[in-house]
Symmetry: C2
Subunit: 428 residues, 2 copies
């Protein structure tokens, strides 16, 4: 019998407990598949006494994650603490320095420090694996690094924040305003301590920039991602978009163009019949376009105990089988510093303007758009609510900057009651 | 610089040419990702003189695939010949015996001889990889063996034959009968030399049994798969199913139940709004249900030069990186002989009966169904075409054998003009 693969698990929240349950329940299966037993040596968390609905009595308790990471009797350090600094970062660094393989679900840590951690791990000859950091149970990291490794990747996109998707789909299905559903989500515990991580698109963008690093062979660059949260999306926008055959999703898009690397996370319109449009609640979907494979789409639960633990275990099994892989699919030293381009790729847009209820307003808008060379595909004015009239305009494909210029011109006309909104239409 | 990984490629059809193109076009990218150069030493095919739109001048030509497989100057034998016997089988066996890793796209070979080849490969300490054998470019084999390895898999299902899906979707979109679209597909070169491999569901079932072996840890068992082709599906069935909110797909289903391993490939009804229902043309989708991860769905092109070559290259990159894996995700010696159960799992069914245009026929059918304990959820009689009236019946969940008994009783009544059809309704 081969030697067991011994884990040290830091962080015993939902995911940590899920991992422990799998290892306890499926010991035989895991040994069969991994070629050696998978065991847990020691665990660590903030509270030793909290009831976690799982038996920890066989494991050594460490109060300090960094001490856990350095223990001689673990082979793999599993970091499930979270956060892009503090004990998460310190313990991952300590594990690498101690020559341990590392598995983490920490998208923030990798989005902010992925390059330096990858260099450190590869210099130390250890694995740094993070399947659980992106899109929950969907094995998208492995699909990109392994299964699709023969492809030049052209584009990666996806819906990767379940909380935002829950809010947007719930607003539509229950016909409720953003603020109400936001509060609901908060009550249900769906939101991060800092809700802006979710609704501001930050968490989803953390995931996107990891995917784009693998896809394009570039160093992780979170600062180069354009962010727009879902807070400006109204229930009326959702309804009007639906009337025009679209649904609104917080969509991430990463693309390498002649101008450079474009990364954006924005509320976007997708055709109502598209698979992305039909994602409900916490479901995620990632779509990858490669030069050989064409389009591959993967759908699954984006969070939760089971799905995220499943992703952690995928990494555990790889390491049990002896895998050695560069962190981002090619040696970190070969990853290029990406030239960041404004994600201004031409697309059709859906514009929402709230016009003052006065004669000639519509004509002025039409002229301003025409003057800015924004060509209109179709337009709808909806019935007035109080003193303003929402107008939805679908443009022909045009640069984002061109629409922004038109918006600036319209703002100067003093005919709108609030900031206009522009949502890219993604043909996905 | 590490030593190159040297391939010998047998079979220079669409896929072989696709693989060569990727290796020629993306040499630098592949070396970066795989950690070593990927080169081609020698190739083999039936005709040396055929124009293949790719430069073979750098490669040694072998007339005989078995000789190619044994060459000292190759590390990996890539078998793209096809067929479950003959040179494909002989050359794969020769490669294994010579200690070469093997990559194949040959689902028939593995469906018929997977267990013995896996034992041979593992005894010889070589890899036998076959990502390209199932669902074209979708990296489903790796998802099952690696990414989802921490899950007890409950169910695998999918649409895995692009030709059948093309025929069914084309019948619906163009409102054409089966025979016409079959002929079209034949003219377009979509059909295998023996069309029954496609329309009889055999090719798709070859793929399904490979997935079920990995999912359930059982020896590949093609003989244990229940098969029903699409030849009995009429344009009227498609239309009537649509009217009732369903679409017809050739759906594979593998499930481990208390009764044993159920594997079936059958035309089935799926809700029109489900992702499976929306697959057009040659697109494939595989859905996996695991105890931790829940449901994962993967969609992509099921065939063609690029997608299939992409899958082959995924295996090439794994081997370049030093992967060693049991063929079916756990040692072949530990795979159990599956107890095969009749895939009679309870489901709702859609029944199509063509009643003679005579008084009381409907009443007799209703009575026969009631006597057999087949409970009706809803029923629709459509307008007569000539002398018979098609009746579509959606049942409540019931055993397949119960419906078969009812059909036998109805046949004895002499009130139908043709064999009735039963299609399982899969809630996917």
């Amino acid at each position: 019998m081969s030697n067991a693969l011994r884990l040290g698990i830091a962080g015993l929240g939902t995911v940590g407990v899920g991992v422990i349950k799998i290892i306890q329940e499926h010991a035989t299966m895991l040994e069969m598949r991994g070629g050696r037993p998978v065991t847990i040596t020691a665990v660590s968390a903030r509270s030793k006494t909290k009831n976690r609905d799982v038996d920890l009595s066989d494991y050594t308790w460490e109060d300090n994650a960094v001490e856990l990471a350095k223990r001689d009797d673990i082979d793999v350090f599993v970091e499930l603490i979270g956060g892009d600094s503090g004990p998460a970062k310190a313990s991952v660094e300590a594990a690498i320095a101690a020559g341990k393989d590392v598995i983490t679900a920490n998208k923030a840590l990798l989005a902010m420090h992925g390059q330096e951690l990858a260099v450190a791990a590869e210099n130390a000859g250890v694995n740094l694996r993070y399947e659980a950091a992106v899109a929950g149970g969907i094995p998208i990291i492995k699909a990109l690094t392994d299964g699709l490794a023969g492809n030049k990747i052209n584009r990666v996109m996806g819906v990767m924040n379940g909380t935002c998707n829950y809010i947007l789909t719930r607003m539509e299905s229950a016909n409720l305003p953003y603020e109400t559903v936001f509060e609901e989500a908060n009550q249900l515990g769906y939101l991060e301590a800092d809700p802006n991580l979710d609704v501001g698109g930050i968490d989803a963008a953390h995931k996107l920039v990891l995917l784009s690093s693998i896809a394009f062979g570039t160093q992780v660059n979170f600062a180069g991602a354009e962010l727009e949260g879902i807070g400006e999306v109204t229930i009326e926008d959702i309804e009007h978009a639906r009337d025009m055959g679209f649904r609104i999703k917080l969509l991430g898009l990463a693309e390498m163009t002649d101008a450079g690397l474009e990364q954006s996370m924005r509320p976007s319109l997708v055709p109502a019949t598209s698979p992305l449009a039909q994602l409900e609640g916490g479901t995620n979907m990632v779509v990858v376009e490669g030069d050989a494979v064409g389009q591959i789409a993967m759908r699954g639960a984006g969070a939760g105990e089971g799905p995220t633990a499943s992703a952690v275990m995928g990494d555990v099994m790889d390491i049990a089988r002896g895998l050695k892989m560069p962190v981002f699919g090619q040696p970190a030293s070969t990853l290029k510093e990406a030239k960041i381009a404004k994600a201004s790729g031409k697309s059709a847009f859906c514009l929402r303007l709230n016009l003052k209820d006065e004669a000639g307003a519509m004509a002025k808008v039409s002229s301003a758009l025409a003057d800015a060379s924004v060509s209109i595909d179709r337009m709808r004015q909806f019935s007035h609510d109080d003193a303003s009239a929402p107008v939805m305009i679908v443009t022909h494909p045009v640069e984002r900057t061109t629409v922004e210029a038109a918006f600036a011109a319209i703002a100067a006309l003093n005919i709108t009651t609030q900031e206009p909104l522009m949502l890219g239409i993604v043909d996905a």
